[in-house]
């Protein structure tokens, strides 16, 4: 029998350390994702939504978008990180409870892509945060995003 209860982390907020050891086994299914746009052109964002819609229906695996980073297991980041939003992405990353994964959707988050000469860039994201899964493409197809989430599962199992 599979238990589908969610394991909430017990964290001492003052020290930022774990009070209780977490059983990762319970986290490997039904990932909840928080989507953040850090200067994307909307293409990746609408492909993420298309992934959750009836055609591809990633919600059948328990993947869903949540409204607050505090409820999320995975941080989906689209877009290259601009100067103005740099502080915000770092704040949001701090708010995601551990264990957390960061996924970059799209080429420009990973390498700055087509905007590589721009003066307004603070990224790529992996210079600011530890990134676990890269989904390349401009924009990646919904199948590629689902494959990326499957890779994230594998990564969580290894933890």
């Amino acid at each position: 029998m599979v238990y589908y209860y969610r394991c909430y982390n017990v964290i001492d907020n003052n020290r930022g350390t774990y009070v209780k050891k977490i059983n990762y086994k319970h986290l490997k299914r039904s990932l909840w994702a928080y989507h953040m746009n850090t200067g994307s052109c909307n293409a990746c964002d609408i492909e993420i939504l298309a992934t959750l819609m009836p055609r591809y229906d990633a919600e059948r695996f328990g993947i869903k978008l949540v409204g607050s980073p505090r409820h999320a297991d995975v941080l989906l980041v689209t877009g290259t990180v601009t100067e103005k939003i740099k502080d915000k992405i770092l704040q949001v990353y701090q708010q995601v409870p551990k264990p957390k994964l960061v996924m970059i959707i799209g080429s420009c988050g990973a390498t700055k892509g087509v905007f590589h000469e721009s003066y307004a860039m603070a990224g790529p994201l992996d210079t600011l945060l530890p990134v676990d899964v890269y989904v390349p493409g401009c924009p990646p197809r919904p199948e590629a995003i689902i494959y990326g989430v499957a890779k994230a599962w594998e990564k969580l199992e290894e933890l």
């Binding site: 200067g39 994307s40 819609m53 721009s118």
Partner: protein, 409 residues
């Protein structure tokens, strides 16, 4: 409900109600919005500056990334501007293919918007329904151009891929599918009691205000302005369509007052209009070349010897897109200005959001179909965090100086 207690309410820049980073600071009296301040610039990527270091062909693919939803309108307006300078004639077949892809893009954008609007008022069934039927037009675009979102179809002086007989069959099937669904979908969107209760009479933008704030696209047409670049300054195949008229809520027998319902009605009617335009273009598709047959190097060499300025205007799904270029005997333009529809429509938020309830904020903000990625063309970053205000005269003077300098270089 009004009250004496006034407090600020920050929404954004990162908020689940909007998919894009934008910051609103509301001044709330009781439960009513008394004022609003908008902070843009979180997705500023400096595209206009990058474009000055790339050649004319590379810029087309850069401008596709201005906005993922209008990824055909922006490069098209740029190509029209370059063709304006170089006096390049586009073959008839290419003009029709450009029209078909532009209308397919409008179809997918409007379906996307109806889904988002339904999501903002909590009607998720409709959200799933419209996004499901939207996959059909994306399939069509994919078969046609090779990609779902960024098509890479345009080149200066034409298009890059032709419509084969198999593609036209796909388009015919797609049109049949949507024509069948349209009556049912428009019944849900325009007559449903829940939707009407949430959208009628809120977020009002009067005709005078729409004129004052230079509203464009469905936002202006919802307020009763008959303004459509496809009809006023026709490009592509729009010359040849005699029955094309700007959509207005009067077409369904309603006097426009400029509320959210009117803007929704305009978009729903435009879905039908787009289907008719695609059908017209498929029936009258002329034979012939799809581009000048010249390679990228030849086009760049030709443009290298030119100087002058050009302007390209096109009606994107959200309103008028306008691109302005200056050429000066170089491999890249010396000036490129992108004017996106949300740049105009963003300011209509101020009258719309004043005196509404807090619960109506998401749908009113979504009602102009904002695209922040399109609008973020300029930003000021100051390390000390100080805020500056610039007067109209100062900015006007600055812009004259800038463009004079670049024209004299």
């Amino acid at each position: 409900m009004k009250s004496d207690i006034v407090y600020p309410l920050n929404i954004g820049p990162v908020h689940p109600a909007f998919k894009e980073p934008i910051k609103f600071t509301f001044r709330i009296e009781g439960e009513q919005v008394a004022g609003v301040d908008i902070d843009f610039g979180y997705t500023h990527r400096g595209i206009e500056k990058i474009a000055l270091e790339r050649n004319y062909i590379q810029i087309i693919y850069l401008l596709e990334r201005v906005c993922g939803i209008c990824s055909f309108s922006h490069p098209l307006a740029y190509c029209l501007a370059i063709e304006d300078v170089a006096e390049i004639q586009v073959p008839d077949r290419a003009r029709y293919i450009r029209t078909i892809i532009g209308e397919l893009e409008r179809l997918h954008s409007h379906l996307l918007w109806t889904g988002i609007a339904a999501h903002e008022i909590g009607f998720d069934t409709l959200f799933m329904y419209t996004w499901n039927i939207r996959e059909k037009v994306l399939d069509c675009l994919e078969e046609f151009t090779g990609n779902r979102i960024n098509y890479g179809m345009l080149t200066i002086g034409g298009v890059r891929r032709d419509i084969t007989p198999e593609n036209s069959e796909t388009i015919t099937r797609m049109l049949e599918y949507y024509m069948e669904l349209y009556d049912r979908a428009s019944e849900i969107l325009l007559d449903d009691l829940t939707l009407r209760a949430r959208t009628e009479g809120i977020g009002i933008l009067s005709r005078e205000q729409a004129e004052m704030f230079c509203a464009v696209g469905p936002t202006a047409r919802g307020s009763g302005l008959l303004k459509d670049v496809r009809i006023d300054y026709p490009v592509n195949a729009y010359y040849d369509i005699p029955w094309l008229n700007p959509i207005s809520p009067r077409d369904i027998g309603k006097e426009p007052i400029g509320d959210v319902y009117d803007r929704m009605a305009v978009r729903v009617l435009e879905i039908k209009q787009s289907l008719n335009v695609i059908q017209f273009c498929m029936e009258n598709l002329p034979e012939g070349d799809i581009n000048s047959g010249e390679g990228a190097v030849k086009i760049i060499n030709k443009l290298k010897k030119l100087e002058g300025e050009g302007i390209g205007r096109y009606e994107a799904p959200r309103g008028e897109v306008c691109h302005y270029v200056i050429l000066d005997n170089q491999e890249h333009p010396i000036q490129l200005k992108v004017k996106a529809p949300t740049y105009s429509n963003g300011f209509t938020w101020i009258p719309m959001l004043t005196n509404i309830e807090i619960a109506d904020i998401p749908i009113v903000i979504a009602s102009i179909d904002p695209c922040v990625a399109c609008a973020d063309r300029m930003t000021f970053i100051r390390k000390d965090g100080a805020k500056e205000r610039y007067s109209w005269d100062y900015l006007h003077q600055k812009s004259i100086q800038k463009y004079k300098r670049s024209a004299n270089q």
